[in-house]
Each structure stands twice: as structure tokens, then as C-alpha cells.
Amino acid sequence: MTPGSPTEPVRRRRSTARHAAVLVGGAVFVMWAVATLTFFAIRLIPGDPAQAILGGPGSQASQEALDLVREEYGLDQPLVVQYLAMLGRLLTGDLGSSYALRVPVADLLAAQVGGTLLLAVLSLALAWMLALGLALWSTGRGRIAAAVGEGVELTAAALPHFWLAGVLIAVFSSGLGWLPPVATGTPAGLVLPVVTLAVPLAGFLAQVMRESLLDALEQPFVVSARARGESTAGVRLRHTIRHAALPGISLSGWALGWLLSGAVVVETIFAMPGLGRTLLQAVTLRDIPVVVGVVLFVALVYVVMTVVTDLVARVADPRLRQEGAR
């Protein structure tokens, strides 16, 4: 299945249909594996789901109440039966109901997904702008600029979200009073959360972009472009930026998933509603259907983004469209 070397014969070429089938099959496998792992992993940590339903850990529920709940939610069944029941439900597209909130998981996710996706997409966009700007500025300008660029990238990539969020709140909310520390659905409230998520990501993206940019700048086509009389800026904008963007595009699928996990911290600190906080609360309460639902959703985003970035990369880089080449 691994792409062969460019010298492999034509039979390596996969039809579009086969390519799609492999993608879909892979996606289904990933989703199944994720659901299975999550289902069993959450049972490895201590905590009784029946208690989660009855007012959280440490509840002093009566035997009758516990029995009633165990029966209602099928928790009295063997684990394998519960697992198969969950798979059966998932196959029909039913994510089940939250133990703690007593509402369908699908409704819960639908209500929270918008906020988190907006946060993730804005952060990704900002990270891209920062990364491209930094990479373009710091390459081909001599050692000092390269060193500065590298330093900034490494530092940014290493910043933990909770720390960065704390500093941003201290400076821009408590100190200068420009931006609210609690996001209340206003555009101003989104600024600090988006910056918190974007800066470390920009560090990562800029690192890989700068490397490919350096590669590209040494390519013969740069020399011929310059020979045709194009300016430095022209070369960068028209020719090398594509090369710089390529690994960034491939990374964006990963990055969106990474942003969703970063959302757990950022949503909690800035008190924004969203999937991250939903997940945190669900894990604390051992609300298994919600945990499985959120994790499946994030997995789905990863899978979809992998496919999309694969396609976008083919558009951006003509070499990928040629048979066998990869």
C-alpha cells in the first residue's frame, strides 16, 4: 500500500474509485478503533457510571435508585454486551444519551460544535498568517534573521496554552483592560482565546515552512526567475510560497485536531462553551456516551481533514498529481 518509488511501473496507479474506497475503509476502521479504545479506556479509570448519573461521584444514592439506573442504562449487562450495544447504536448513527445531562449526545454536540470549530478555524487562519509572515521574513536574509526566526519559532511552539493564556489575561485584561478575560460571545472575547491557540501552532508551522522555503530558494527555477529579472519579493510571492505552504497544508489536518485538544484548556480558562469543556466535564463525571461522542467527532475531523489536505496538496503541488510520484 505504501507508495512506491517513482520508477515503479504504471500498474501502481490506483483508480480514483479504489483510492476513495481505501480512504473510506480506513476512515471507518479509525472510527471503530477510536470508539472501542475510548469505551474501554474510560472503564479503566475508577468511577461508577451509575453514580455519575445519580449526582456525581460520592453520591449516597439508595440501592433502589442505583438498581433503577443500572437497569435503565443497561449498566447491569456484561461489558461485552454493553460494548456491542454501543456499536449497534453507533452503526445506526445514534450516539446515545448523556448520563449526567439526560439529553441526546447528538444534541449536546450540535450545540457545542459551532463555538469550538469557529475557535479552531480562526486560530488556524491566524497561525497560518503568522507562520507565513515569519517564514518569508526570516529566510534568505542572512544568519541573524534566520537565527531570530528560528528562536521565535521554537519559543512560540514550546509555549503551553495555560501559561500563554494566563500571561495574555494578565497583560491585556487585568493590566491594560483592552480585552475581556471571559469570552461572552462577542468578537472581542474571541481575541485572546484565538491568539492563545494560534501562537504555539504558528511556531510549529513556521518551522516546517521555513525549511521548505530554504529548499525552494536553492532550486534552479529561482535562479531562472531571477535571471528573467524578477525581484526578490516577486520570486518569493509567485514561486517559493507554494513550496513553503505545502508542508503547512499537510500539517493543517493534524493542526485542526491539535487545536481541538487545545480547546479543552482554552475553553476552560476563557469560560467559553464548547466541545473541550464538554469533554472535560464528561470525563470528570464518567459520562461515557458523551466522552465517546466527542472523541468520535474529533476523530472524524482528523479523518476528514487528512483527506482534504491530501486533495489540497495535490492541487498546490502538480508533482503529486503525476502517477506514482509522492
Binding site: G56, A61, S173, P180, A271, R286
Partner: protein, 552 residues
């Protein structure tokens, strides 16, 4: 939006508390306040409250029954009785009450003319439905269910008279009924079923649940027909505020920043350092409202070695030093306790001498108890077994300052040869350790109105786990004399005799070195100075905004 702070003069702690309790009845000795120009309440406005407690999964405190539910339910639900600052039970939805000679029947006369916000009248039938709701396993009640443990049934005597029939006399009945977990809701609201009632319970309170946006906020709007404040309220009639926006802001630093920036008006669960900073700046009001029931304390598991030996228990308590740690880590916001009960409980008995640190004595006691060897790390040994104390700590319940304090406990206990192993755990895992008896010391809060909490925490019946695995007697104190005193106290209707029994019980509990009291269960609110008239209920210290208004 935010006016200049009214008072930049640093105030003493007691003055600030008083300022917070602007109902001021306690101060003025029940005389009417002399109205000052600036103290005239202003109608209208929306108060923004930022809560650091977990967001409830159900707004009906009958279901489950935890503190986050109580915090918000107090805005829209009311109880039969309340408690005033001196600890006296006072009328609320019930105007008066009387117990029968044998203590097995209590008749409550309800306030006339009160209606729930759905228009249903408050009557004896409603009280009956509520008690049945609490006792029904399908309600999934835990706290309220326990509080009604001795109630067999409620009889409707007439429209406004409800008779509670008990299985055994219960001197804590009124205290149990003053809690938000037994608040009275509209029977029509309850009849809608668990799911719908969880979204927006219907009560008689000064505010009504308008909308609950999960993980974001609950919008509460004024009940314009409100007519049933508790007897110690500052005014009759509807609230001054038009609405309360109740937001969930889990991060302590963000919460404080939002208060400083004027984005919110009130926050709960401020960390000790921010309380100290707020006090220093002088432009925020600190409302210090310790919770009732038990103090925060370290329990020593006497059910197994090494703490089944009283000498080892005393040695631990003599070895550990917490005073400096409390001062430094809590920035002077927490006062050392020497009682099993919260300082808000009138019957709390303190014995400071019992907890005087004395390392020399601790070493003597351990030598006496046979822990004579030491290993390379200085940990004492007996028959080759190290003197290890497992200390599971719940990160949900112990704030960072408390976690640091436990490290000081660890360090000071080490000098006497104890090897304290602290384990930071999430709530479910923490309970898992307790249920499996995998602890020698533990600190667990317990909030309940009145000294009957002692029976829950130290009666040997509470060693037997509930069906869920839970047991409250974490010290595993098993003393027939303590049992007898607490049982007798719970059935004693004479106030003086009851107080005497509780004092004897506390002396015996403290005397057996089963616990190390630390401080009251901390519960604080920070308010923007424009918020006036807010107070903490003297029942379970939840905030009340019926008398609150926003000065501009």
C-alpha cells in the same frame, strides 16, 4: 459602566463581613437601619455572577444534591424554614411549627397567599408532593433523601397545615428542612418529569429560571409577584435586581480578572491570594461565609494499622505543624480551627490544647507504641513495616493552597518518622481509594446545617458503606459511647440537654485523636463595590440577591 470605588479605605475583616451582610439586621440588633442618601436601593439592572463551582447537571437540587446546585437553586427555590445569624431557626415558607409531645409528629403552618411562579398555590399538598419526590428512588436524590431519612410520611391536615410523621424523633428536622436540597417546588413542575424539571425548576423564589445555555450561563429574571422572603430578609416584596446572569467560569484567575475588569459583579471561590490582593486594593468587597456543618479537617483512619493505636494517632497530631502553613498559604484569610464543627455552628466545641504540637511527645509515643527502628530515610519501622501514611487528596475539593498545606503536613510529620505519601486524584479516583480503604489520612468536606453532621461523620453506623460504596465516617471512629451520645442528641428535643450531649460527644471525639481540625470550610465571595445588599444565607452560606441592588 463601573463607578469609582465607594470605599478605598482598608477595612478590617469583621467590618467587611458586616458590609457584605448589608441586611445589617445583625448589626442594628433588629432595629430599622437609618437610611442614608447613598443607601437607598436602586431598582433594576442585571447582576453578573461568575461561579467557579462545577456547572450543575440538573438545576433541581432534589436530584443528586450537591453544593453547586444549592448555590444557584437558592435564587429560585425556597425552603420551609431558614436560619438567622445566631443559628436560630426562623420562619420562611412555614410561618410556624409545633412538635408533638413524643416528637414523632411535626405540624407546619404555611404562609398564606404564596404561589409558585407557575401560578400553583403553595399548600400542604405541595409539601407532601415534595417530600414524596425526595423519597422516590426515581428522583435520584441523595442529599435530600438522607435529610428526610426519619420522615415516614406527610399528612395534609388542612390547606395550610402539613403534618410530618416521623419514625423516630429527629432534633435535626428543622435544620434539615432549612437546606436548599429540601426546598419546596411546584407540584406541577415536578409532574413534568425529571428532564424538564432539571432544566428549569419552578419555585417561589425571588428569581425565575429563564434560560439555561449549557456551559455558559443561566439567565434568571425577577419574579414580580414575589412575596415570601425569610424572616431575616432586608425587605418584603420583589427583588430590586431585574435579572441575574449566572455564568460558569471555571478558571480562578479569569474569574478574578473578569471581576477586576468590571465584566462581572460577583465571583465565588476566589483563591486566598486574590482575596488578600482584593483586601489590599480596598476596592472590592470580601464576603467571608464559611460553610456550616463540619470544619475542614484531616481524618485519621482508626479502622486499621497504624492508627488503630491511639498513641500513634496522638503522635501524628503532635508531630504535625500547620499554623504557619495556614497563615502563609492562606494569606491570613483562614483562621485555625480546633473543632470538628464549623465556627458558624453555635454548638461547636473547641479544644486548642489538644492540638498543641509537641515533637518530643510524638517521638515518645511512637517509641512506646513499638515504632522504634528507623530506616535510612528516617521513616520509623515496626516488625520491618514502615510507618507509611497514604494520603489521597482530591484536587476537586482541595484548592492549591490546601494541597500545599498538606505538603507541610508531610514535611513536619516526617520529622517524627511518618512517611506521608500524598496522591493527587480526581474526584472519582479519590472516592475509589476511600471505598477501597486505601488511606490512612484523608481530608473530606461535609456541608450540612446543624451539629447533626457529627452523627453522620462519627457514628459507627456511618462506617458501613452505602450501596454506592460511600461512607461518611472516614475516621472509622467506632466508639459505643460516642454512638450513644449522638443518637441521644439526635432525639433530644430540649435545647440545653441537646447542647450538653453534643458537647460531651465532641469532647470524646477530639479526645480520641481521630481528627486534626484545620479551618472552617472556606467559602468566599468577592463583590464589586457597586453591589449592595447581597448576603450569604446563614443556612448553607449560598449567596442571596433578594436584597441586592446595583449602585451606579
Amino acid at each position: 459602566m463601573r463607578a469609582a470605588p465607594v470605599n478605598r479605605r482598608p477595612l478590617g475583616r469583621s467590618a467587611l463581613i458586616a458590609a457584605g451582610l448589608v441586611s445589617a439586621l445583625a448589626l442594628a440588633g433588629c432595629q430599622a437601619d437609618e437610611p442614608q442618601a447613598s443607601d437607598e436601593p436602586v431598582e433594576g439592572g442585571t447582576l453578573v455572577y461568575a461561579s467557579g463551582d462545577a456547572e450543575p447537571t440538573c438545576l433541581d437540587p432534589h436530584v443528586g444534591g450537591n453544593y453547586p446546585q444549592a448555590l444557584i437553586a437558592g435564587q429560585f427555590l425556597e425552603s420551609l424554614v431558614s436560619r438567622d445569624d445566631s443559628g436560630e431557626i426562623i420562619p420562611w415558607l412555614a410561618e410556624s411549627w409545633e412538635a408533638s409531645e413524643d416528637g414523632l409528629a411535626w405540624e407546619f403552618t404555611l404562609r398564606d397567599g404564596v404561589t409558585f411562579t407557575d401560578g400553583t398555590p403553595l399548600d400542604a399538598e405541595a409539601v407532601k408532593v415534595n417530600v414524596e419526590h425526595l423519597r422516590d428512588p426515581a428522583t435520584q436524590s441523595s442529599t435530600g433523601y438522607l435529610a428526610m431519612g426519619k420522615v415516614e410520611r406527610v399528612e395534609v391536615v388542612d390547606d395550610l397545615t402539613a403534618r410530618f410523621v416521623l419514625t423516630t424523633p429527629d432534633s435535626a428536622l428543622l435544620e434539615s428542612l432549612s437546606q436548599p436540597w429540601t426546598a419546596i417546588q411546584s407540584p406541577a413542575g415536578i409532574a413534568r418529569g425529571l428532564e424538564e424539571n432539571c432544566e428549569a425548576p419552578i419555585g417561589t423564589g425571588p428569581f425565575v429560571v429563564d434560560e439555561w445555555v449549557k456551559q455558559d450561563r443561566v439567565m434568571l429574571v425577577r419574579n414580580d409577584e414575589y412575596s415570601s422572603p425569610p424572616a431575616d430578609a432586608g425587605h418584603e416584596g420583589p427583588a430590586y435586581l431585574e435579572a441575574i446572569e449566572w455564568r460558569f467560569v471555571p478558571d480562578a484567575a479569569s474569574r478574578y480578572a473578569a471581576l477586576q475588569g468590571g465584566q462581572v459583579d460577583v465571583i465565588d471561590n476566589p483563591q486566598p491570594d486574590t482575596i488578600a490582593a482584593a483586601e489590599e486594593s480596598g476596592n472590592l468587597t470580601w464576603l467571608d461565609a464559611p460553610r456550616p456543618g463540619a470544619s475542614n479537617r484531616i481524618e485519621l483512619n482508626s479502622g486499621q494499622a497504624p492508627f488503630d493505636d491511639e498513641r500513634v494517632r496522638e503522635a501524628f497530631i503532635r508531630a504535625v505543624q500547620v499554623d504557619e502553613g495556614i497563615d502563609a498559604l492562606f494569606f491570613g484569610t483562614a483562621e485555625r480551627s480546633y473543632s470538628a464543627l464549623s465556627s458558624v455552628e453555635a454548638l461547636a466545641y473547641s479544644d486548642a490544647a489538644r492540638f498543641e504540637p509537641d515533637l518530643e511527645r510524638a517521638n515518645e509515643l511512637l517509641d512506646e507504641a513499638g515504632w522504634t527502628e528507623r530506616d535510612a530515610d528516617g521513616t520509623r519501622l515496626k516488625d520491618g513495616q514502615p510507618l507509611t501514611l497514604r494520603f489521597p487528596v482530591s484536587t476537586n475539593q482541595s484548592i492549591p493552597a490546601e494541597q500545599s498545606l498538606f505538603e507541610q503536613v508531610q514535611a513536619t510529620a516526617k520529622e517524627a518518622g511518618f512517611d506521608v505519601v500524598i496522591d493527587l486524584l480526581d474526584l472519582s479516583s479519590w472516592y475509589g481509594r476511600l471505598f477501597a480503604n486505601e488511606y490512612e489520612i484523608v481530608s473530606a468536606p461535609y456541608t450540612k446545617v446543624g451539629p447533626d453532621v457529627l452523627r453522620i461523620l462519627y457514628h459507627s453506623d456511618s462506617i458501613t458503606p452505602a450501596p454506592s460504596g460511600y461512607f461518611a465516617n472516614l475516621a472509622q471512629l467506632d466508639d459505643p459511647e460516642v454512638d450513644a451520645l449522638l443518637t441521644e442528641a439526635a432525639a433530644e428535643s430540649d435545647a440545653d440537654a441537646r447542647a450538653d450531649l453534643y458537647e460531651q460527644a465532641q469532647q470524646r471525639i477530639l479526645g480520641g485523636y481521630y481528627l486534626l481540625p484545620l479551618y472552617d470550610q472556606q467559602n468566599s465571595f468577592l463583590l464589586d463595590p457597586s453591589v449592595r445588599g447581597a448576603r450569604a444565607m446563614p443556612t448553607v452560606s449560598t449567596p442571596s440577591f433578594h436584597d441586592a441592588w446595583l449602585a451606579d
